[in-house]
Symmetry: C2
Subunit: 190 residues, 2 copies
DNA sequence: CATGAATTTCAGTAATTTCTGAAATTCATG
DNA sequence: CATGAATTTCAGAAATTACTGAAATTCATG
């Protein structure tokens, strides 16, 4: 590995973290390298930087493309593909969330739905279904929230984050104000 | 594997998903089994249900305990440990979030902090630092939100989720109302 | 403090995943 | 449509991770 020490530490750390996810070490390292580099890199740049085989780079880039985590650039009069990451870290986060949902949450939801269609053949199965239903409800609430929030612009997202738990207090405040305005004419809304 | 078919499908799916995370197949299966079972199971119950070796069960349960994902129960006049999961799925989610933060986010933040202390030795390093700083800012915003929200009771959490993106609209509404009340006497607050 | 049921540890093996180099493919260019 | 630079594929090797059975340990009980 042939990199400035700061970059090398970053790349190695991401390699480690990568294997703690489903992503493998090399893929994590390549991503970190692309993320922190000031310009797009081609496959051979990566080979040189990380000292891994050309074919490994090829497969790992393919993987990163499948995750939509990487942007393809071209340089005039150069046939090779050059790769970068999006500039906006929030956009990266959105993509990550979307892809992980697709790979982890959606399949689980569809298994849960399928199993909840079945007629339980025993008391044990009946109980299991009740538990699966609880899990399904939780996941559906979370994905509903996610679908709602994922379209927000970066700035609105930041607002929402900064608000955090204060939202519940804010909600109370608004209820009070609104019900004052209504002068107790209507029953409470959902 | 010796289980009612519904339970078996669930357990197998969780095994698959497990390996897509950092968690291994067996650990995922055991967790699913404990989650869906109507009563606590001891190690030998798990051996029978999943057809894996006693020692593997022992190590996997140890792993689940390290993740705080499992509750230990005892049965009178029985020396063996029995295991379950919490009843409340929200509590499970909280624990998962906490543990993943501890293992994935915190170490990354500390690496970022350390690398941002260093004096860049080149233009390339200077650029890398700028990128790491962006990542650090993002992660810190997210963890600040998380720290804020993690204490919420299940019901409040549900309220917050149901609100979703509407929060930003709500915020606008509140601002309007409040500034009306103030009758344009004060400059805007943060 | 000896017994033995229950559990854990651990060295070796099995299974899986990752990585490589060689061969095959792609595709712009003359 | 031949050439060759660039890339991809893929079978096997290397590395890592998961699993097992045997031995060691733990600990309530007599």
């Amino acid at each position: 590995m042939n990199l400035p020490p700061l970059l090398q530490s970053f790349v190695l750390h991401f390699g480690e973290m990568g294997s703690r996810w489903g992503i493998n070490r090399t893929v994590g390292q390549i991503y970190a390298l692309l993320y922190a580099s000031s310009k797009p890199l081609c496959a051979d740049d990566i080979v040189d930087a990380l000292s891994i085989s050309r074919s490994n780079v090829s497969m790992s880039l393919r993987e990163l493309q499948a995750w939509n985590l990487v942007i393809l650039k071209h340089i005039p009069d150069d046939r090779r593909d050059y790769f970068t990451t999006p500039d906006d870290v929030w956009q990266i986060l959105r993509t990550l969330a979307e892809e992980r949902k697709k790979r982890e949450v959606d399949p689980t939801l569809s298994v849960l739905r399928e199993l909840l269609m079945q007629t339980p053949g025993s008391e044990e199965e009946r109980h299991a279904q009740a538990r699966l239903a609880e899990m399904q409800t939780l996941i559906e609430q979370l994905t509903k929230w996610y679908d709602d929030v994922k379209h927000l612009e970066t700035e609105q997202l930041a607002t929402l984050l900064n608000l955090g738990a204060k939202v519940t207090r804010l909600l109370d405040a608004k209820d009070r104000i609104v019900s004052l305005g209504r002068k107790r004419t209507e029953p409470k809304t959902s």
